[in-house]
Amino acid sequence: MKEAIINSNYFGLILSIALFILAVKIKSRFKLAILNPLLVSTLLCIAFLACLDIPYDTYRSSAGMLNFLLTPATVCLAIPMYKQLKLLKDNLLAVFAAITAGTCCSLLSILVMGKLFSLSNEHIATLLPKSITTAIGMGVSEEAGGIVTLTVAGIIITGILGNMIAESIFKIFHITHPIAKGLALGTSAHAVGTAKALELGEIEGAMSSLSICVAGILTVILVPVVNSTLV
């Protein structure tokens, strides 16, 4: 019985989506930032698999379809960008200055804290690309001598965290401009942050999508420079 269920081609898919809907319901019931639907559904899913002793690979083989859709969804980020193209062009300076400042802040903060915690260079290199999209981050980490599987975990934790705290941060620092919100989400929390930006609005979504590309490219260029300072 259990085998028939967990080996179904749709088991992982229905489990993930059902838990996500449950998590969205929990969030709208309690309205707490910590009850972020992506975080809650992920933890519930891990708990479910662990309790029933279902290996990750079994889940993955039937949940992979969701992951498969990520590449076409990323391609579609061109749609909000196209609709907001004029706004992008009109604010080029703000866009590029903010993304550059954010990316430098990301690399420097990881470098400084890594030294403070006296982590090995390997671990620092692992976390340097934490704020950029997984596909670019894996390559950066590998190139810099990091542990790629941990980089992926770090990138996902960063994304969920950014998705979770964004609205509180914007409130605390009185960030009201949709352009600033979008740039902050995309630069700090890549595609997972962009999913939040799209929920906030189209301008936020467009700016966040652009930030994924620009912050990703900047990180590719800057990590080798930062990495050369690690001895």
Binding site: G114, A135, L150
Partner: protein, 125 residues
């Protein structure tokens, strides 16, 4: 046929992105190649917004839950993650808050400045 057409465009750009990702020696993911090419095609009019919009919005609307399988994957690296979990979490939390705040404040400051300039221009015009 509307959906068939839309799906074909999106899959075509995804496919070209995948091929470029394999062929070119750059660390650019397939999705980003596809994004740039779709944006260029929309700008040049090769693809119309109405050719991709409905299916595109469906994918964007459901994007958050597409991260669940990858996030659940953290359970398969717990043995190497646990020993460094505390410094990792502290670094990620502090750094993410810092990056988000710095990016938002820099953008706000420049936007406010250019907003004032535009307002001045309109006032003198």
């Amino acid at each position: 046929m509307k959906y068939v057409k839309e799906i074909v465009w999106i899959i075509a750009f995804t496919f070209i992105g995948e091929v470029l990702n394999t062929l070119l020696p750059l660390p650019v993911p397939a999705g980003v190649y596809g994004l740039i090419l779709l944006l260029l095609s929309l700008v040049t009019g090769l693809v119309k917004l109405s050719d991709v919009e409905t299916t595109g919005n469906f994918l964007l609307d459901t994007m958050t839950m597409m991260f669940i399988p990858a996030a659940v994957g953290i359970m398969s690296v717990t043995d190497i993650l646990l020993p460094v979990l505390i410094p990792y979490i502290i670094m990620i939390v502090v750094s993410t808050i810092a990056v988000m705040t710095v990016t938002a404040l820099v953008a706000s400051a420049i936007l406010k400045h250019s907003g004032e300039k535009n307002a001045d221009k309109e006032a003198t015009a």
